[in-house]
Symmetry: C2
Subunit: 280 residues, 2 copies
DNA sequence: CCCGTCCATACCGCCAGGGTATCGCTCGCG
DNA sequence: CGCGAGCGATACCCTGGCGGTATGGACGGG
């Protein structure tokens, strides 16, 4: 037995993130002295100095940096286990599918229809999320399966490819490029591209949008253009047009799920999704 | 805060594995009543029934099965974090390299020599392990980096390919195939192949060996033959010969390390290993 | 030089977690 | 059919650990 407790690890992580016992204590809603004691006890149990305290400044030792990284992940794993258990224990078992709005390549109705006929099928609950959130929601145990686009970070996930799509640019009717048969990225370099709300990695210019409706509205107003997978054509209204973009790499849509998941309901969904995609 | 404690999770895992509170309690070195109480408290905190108790039999509910799987992994992650922290906290930092004996493709001396010249280099400690153990030792935080062969389970690991090798069969001098320029698997189907000790997945026949020395001795005695990567030629004595095997897929050697590892010492080692392999 | 900041120490009270004794249920066996 | 063994649940006690308050001591800024 290594004897380390989840609570004291969480305490240490708070201190290591704040680099300040007092602030960490109030974040944890406890007083500062018990926090000091708990961290010291953790150091004693590990036999390792985690923090360099100099009565004016708190700094991480190399070992402390390791425990901050590893411990955060371990705590994530713990609460993911809790969430998955809670969701598995609901009286009415469900499968939570996470996807970006309009991120199903038009296949979701077919997949769901086929899935419902499976013997292991359970009701599917669809959870919409922002641009890069799929993977975190799957890893964290908030969702069972996801439909992903592009090249997300797949660590901790298993996946199957469903569909490879060419990309199009969506333009307002009357836009200077709207009549072209095809465009290149060079044609678009002066265009305003919206960015998804709450996404730190995205480029800073362009208006912020929260969902596909806002995006289409911006395009229809002529305030922006957007490069989307070809399947998005199905969602376009009459006041915008789609033009193929020649030199953008095709985007692949995939179904992904947490590594180690072995529920029959999930396996049936993945099988159904790949078969449905393969039948096109 | 989800409020789940590592100890109570370990308690539940023990009960779920034994399906018997009394035996689980003695495995945990506590009395049975506190164990019953702890599991019940865990169920209350999760709001989920984990075990079906029928006064004569204990069975897992579906949610209990989920928590058994996920909780085991979460506890693994926790103790891996502890081990990595302990190893990072040693006064003399070292890099622990795990490999099968004679599993380095002859490159280890070159890699180590080149690595020692790196600015971020630390002393390398080599840990030998049995056939399929590399990945578990890396995931568990017992080692920092490994040299792997074949197609191990790489979940939780990052890796780089170092070397693709053809395979040879090692035979006693005077063996019926020893004079051949090459053989096929069909030629070998009646031969005795040793199996590595402590490896459940291996085929049952053949004598058990613990290391390369025992293996070569068995071959020299004519009691066995073995299919090995070409680089093993360097370790062969004069009383055995090596013959290429035509229809065995080449084996790839790779360097692997735990996902998320970001120590400069490790990064330098991986870079050195790939550069050394690329220079051949 | 004093005051504010911040971590450590000292001490206290309470409850969670572990122990022992015992009950209740069920199955197997004579 | 009745008894005993096995096993989990309950009741009760006791101790150690965790959290709280008060305070000390080191350091830096004004």
């Amino acid at each position: 037995m290594d004897g380390i407790e989840a609570r004291e690890l969480a305490y240490f992580v708070a201190v290591a993130e704040e680099l300040n016992f007092t602030r960490a204590a109030e974040r944890l809603c406890i007083a500062q002295p018990p926090l000091s004691r708990a961290v010291k006890q953790l150091e004693r149990r590990l036999g390792v100095t985690l923090l360099e305290r100099s009565s004016r400044r708190v700094a991480l030792t190399p070992a402390g940096q390791v425990l901050l990284d590893e411990g955060r992940r371990a705590l994530e794993g713990l609460s993911a286990a809790v969430r998955r258990t809670r969701r598995a224990g609901r009286q009415e078992p469900r499968l939570t599918l996470v996807m970006k709005a309009v991120g199903d390549g038009g296949m979701l109705p077919d997949i769901l229809a086929a899935y419902e006929k499976e013997p292991d099928a359970v009701p599917v609950e669809v959870l919409f999320c922002g641009f890069g959130e799929h993977a975190a929601l799957l890893r964290g145990g908030f969702a069972d399966v996801g439909l992903l686009h592009g090249r997300p970070d797949l660590t901790g996930l298993d996946h199957e490819e469903l569909l490879v799509e060419e990309q199009i640019v969506v333009l307002r009717l009357g836009h200077r490029l709207a009549g072209r048969a095809a465009v290149t990225l060079a044609d678009l370099k002066d265009e305003v591209m919206p960015r998804w709300a709450g996404l730190p990695g995205d480029r800073g210019d362009g208006p912020e949008v929260r969902d596909a409706g806002q995006l289409l509205q911006l395009i229809a107003l002529g305030h922006a253009v957007a490069v989307l997978p070809e399947s998005a054509r199905a969602y376009l209204g009459g006041d915008v047009v789609a033009v193929p973009v020649l030199d953008v790499p095709p985007t692949t849509m995939m179904v992904a799920w947490p590594e180690w998941s072995r529920s029959p309901a999930l396996a049936a969904f993945v099988r159904t999704a790949t078969e449905t995609a393969g039948r096109t």
